[in-house]
């Protein structure tokens, strides 16, 4: 029992954190938005060079064989930066799923994805749209009982504009005959469910990053902004609001990290922990973003202030990969059918009850 990240885990995240700190500041976001382009090509090239495409792919499938717990801090860093590019979605969710199917038909696509020459967008029934479908080379679409792999050029993608300028959502239609049905074998539900849980877990991680960024932006502003002859950050009401947000963050973080570690169990206990993490992180992000707006005063309502990028991402991710209602249902299933009490915090199976 050791609830600390290993040095390797922290180093992986540090690499991403340093990269986005260099290349994904709010000014970069504004520049990308003004350009109307879906990617910052330079940043995306640098991200691809990190080789994280294969991070969560098993070693026998040509990957690094890492686990969600090795990747969760990477997702936090992406949230903290409000990263537009699909590092988390493609590398954390889609590619590992495609590789896990072991489909021979998809082998070439997997190979291309692992070497960074093919981008995969993932559609799951929990999400009404497919993010960044237009710029992907392939669409991996989960549906009841299987997976379709579709060349983007064979699909019709209709933009569904989001308030978040970087989300780029699409409804997708395609001729099933043109799709590669790759997940018809029995047992595909497990990998799809795990991919969904990774989606939810890494969304929670991004939300936690967003929450901390909102606090940090608010703190920076509150130290500088003077009213009535002193920094507004010296007023107790403002201090207590931000302290309340930080408490939410502090008690969402260990849940997120435990959920990451437990995710591979793939049972009711681990799923409830993922759901708990998403609920806690979303609550923290919501409170943090609203408080950051409030601390910035009228400034927070304006486009000039960076908080709005994070507010919008928080609104979107709170409903993505299952909204609060869905995740509370999974927690309820755990609570009302599973073992309760202090001796079950790290329980692995329901049978332990």
């Amino acid at each position: 029992m050791d609830f600390r990240f290993t040095d390797e885990q922290t180093m992986t995240a540090d690499v991403v954190r340093d990269l986005v700190a260099d290349l994904c500041q709010p000014a970069d976001l504004r520049r990308l938005m003004a350009s109307g382009e879906p990617f910052d090509q330079n940043r995306w090239a640098k991200i691809q060079e990190l080789g994280l495409q294969s991070a969560l792919v098993a070693e026998e499938k040509g990957g690094l064989g890492l686990q969600p717990v090795d990747f969760v801090q990477v997702a936090e860093a992406c949230g903290y930066a409000c990263l537009p590019e699909p590092l988390v979605e493609a590398y954390g969710v889609a590619i590992p799923l495609l590789a896990e199917t072991g489909s021979d038909a998809a082998a070439k696509v997997v190979e291309a994805a692992l070497e960074g020459s093919a981008l995969i967008a993932f559609g799951h029934p929990a999400n009404p749209f497919v993010e960044r479908a237009d710029t992907a080379d392939w669409l991996l679409i989960a549906k009841s009982g299987g997976l379709d792999l579709v060349k983007t050029s064979d699909a019709m993608c209709t933009l569904q504009p989001s308030i978040d300028p970087f989300r780029r959502l699409f409804s997708v239609q395609y001729d099933e005959a043109a799709a590669l049905r790759i997940g018809a074998q029995s047992g595909i539900e497990g990998p799809i469910a795990s991919a969904f849980d990774r989606g939810a877990l890494f969304a929670a991680a991004q939300m936690l990053g967003i929450a901390q960024r909102c606090v940090d932006l608010a703190v920076d502003y509150a130290k500088e902004r003077q009213q009535f002859g002193k920094p507004i950050g010296s007023y107790q009401a403002l201090k207590h609001q931000l302290a309340t947000v930080q408490v939410k963050i502090e008690f969402a973080r260990p849940v997120l990290h435990a959920a990451a570690a437990m995710l591979p169990q793939a049972n009711a206990l681990s799923r409830a922990r993922v759901s708990h993490a998403k609920l806690a992180a979303c609550e923290a992000a919501d409170l943090a973003a609203r408080n950051a707006i409030q601390v910035h005063g009228a400034m927070g309502y304006s486009w000039e202030v960076d908080v709005h990028f994070f507010l919008k991402r928080a609104i979107a991710l709170s409903e993505w990969w299952g909204g609060p209602a869905f995740h509370r249902r999974r927690v309820a299933e755990r609570i009302f059918n599973g073992p309760l009490g202090p001796e079950h915090t790290f329980a692995k199976e329901l049978e332990h009850a």
Binding site: N127, P128, F129, T158, L159, Q160, P161, S162, I163, D164, R167, L169, S171, Q226, Q227, F228, I232, Y235, A237, L238, R290, I293, Q294, G297, A298, G300, Y301, S302, W303, E304, H308, L311, K312, I315, A316, E319, W320, G323, P324, A325, R328
Partner: protein
């Protein structure tokens, strides 16, 4: 206590209801904060209202009003919001400056400004804040230097609502250059197209441009444009803030219509949402009702000669927090569609909830932050000691 409308009040309600039915545009107007065209469409609507003498029913007939009382104003507002009529592009004029002009203006000023306000011929922006004077309004630095019968204005105003397209603005200026804080300020009007005024719209997070920055560099205005005595600006401004926060800035009907729409949204999606959302919807409706009842109570007191006090601050806190709660609840009902723009093909019935949510987040900030309102309540209503 008598909560029955008089026959006259009922007749009045029917009259305005019938007029609105005949005149409210069948299609919603374009936003007055997004384009000049939208702004002018709203000005045209103000003129239509004025033709029916509905510009500001509480004002005397001589200024385009009907000389009615606050209860009748509330009835007017109820029917106005019920009808889905356009938002009032001139709210800074009719609801904020107008009542203050009525109290502090000279007969000549009233004649000059009020009728043009009620008629929609002159649309007003406010110019309270400066970059270093937000919550701390007394930190105003903009100056008005006396030059014979004129003032020359210099300074930088910000968060000036409607200023992108409006005709006039009012704001605080330091008329005594040696003064500090609340002293030596005067409330002065200026045209936004006057030489020396530069208007710089501020994009908002919803993509509209409801606010602007104003750069004033040697703007000459006649002394006639000063409301109240020289140096009395703070006192008069506080009176305006009382009206603003207290009663007219947010008429209860607005929230009751939002609550009604929220209930309709909930009913349409009842089967998809968590049972707990029901309680949130109930709470929003109850809060909108409570706000309406409270305003009726205040209006009754004011009609009987009372004055508005710290309840202006309780109102501000209540409606701003309620407004956020209503919009958050709506977003939770919309679920994953909440993030869509209305232009999205799959937007369905998402309406303006997301825009409204962003707007609601500004509620605790403008017209005096809720932190300041809570200080006021604690110190003036409860008598707690100042820090």
């Amino acid at each position: 206590m008598d909560l029955n409308y008089t026959p006259e009040q009922q007749t009045f309600r029917q009259e305005i209801r019938a007029w609105l039915k005949a005149h409210v545009p069948s299609q919603p107007l374009e936003s007055f904060d997004a384009t000049r065209a939208g702004f002018e469409a709203h000005r045209a609507w103000e003129r239509t209202l004025a033709e029916g003498r509905w510009g500001m029913v509480t004002w005397p007939e001589s200024y385009g009003g009907r000389g009615l009382d606050l209860i009748q104003w509330l009835i007017f507002e109820e029917e106005y919001y019920r009808s889905g009529a356009p938002l009032r592009v001139n709210q800074n004029g009719i609801f904020l400056l107008g009542p203050t002009l009525m109290e502090y203006g000279t007969p000549e000023q009233k004649a000059r400004f009020l009728s043009a306000m009620a008629s929609g011929d002159e649309i007003w922006a406010q110019a309270w804040s400066e970059p270093q004077a937000g919550s701390d309004l007394a930190a105003v630095r903009a100056t008005a230097t006396r030059d014979g019968d004129n003032y020359v204005l210099k300074g930088h105003k910000i968060w000036s609502s409607r200023a992108a397209f409006a005709d006039w603005a009012f704001g605080l200026f330091r008329t005594d250059p040696a003064s500090e804080r609340h002293k030596g300020l005067s409330l002065i009007f200026f045209r936004l197209d006057a030489p020396g005024v530069k208007v710089q719209p501020i994009p908002q997070i919803d993509g509209e441009t409801g606010f602007a920055e104003l750069f004033l560099d040697g703007v000459t205005v006649p002394v006639f444009n000063r409301l109240g005595g020289e140096g009395e600006g703070w006192k008069i401004c506080m009176a305006t803030a009382g009206f603003e926060r207290g009663l007219m800035l947010r008429s209860p009907a607005r929230f009751q219509v939002t609550a009604r729409k929220l209930v309709e949204l909930y009913k349409a999606h009842e089967d998809e949402v968590e049972p707990s959302v029901r309680n949130a919807v109930l709470q929003c409706w109850m809060d909108a009702e409570a706000y309406a009842l409270s305003i009726y109570s205040t209006a009754s007191r004011l009609i009987a000669g009372g004055h508005i006090g710290a309840e202006a601050s309780t109102n501000k806190i209540f409606w701003s927090e309620m407004d956020i709660a209503m919009h958050k609840t709506a977003l939770s009902i919309l679920g994953a569609r909440a993030e869509l723009l209305r232009s999205a093909p799959e937007a369905g019935d998402i309406g303006r909830w997301l825009d409204g949510y962003f707007f609601s987040l500004a509620g605790p900030i403008y017209a005096g932050t809720n932190e300041i309102q809570r200080n006021i309540i604690a110190e003036r209503m409860l008598g707690l000691p100042r820090a």
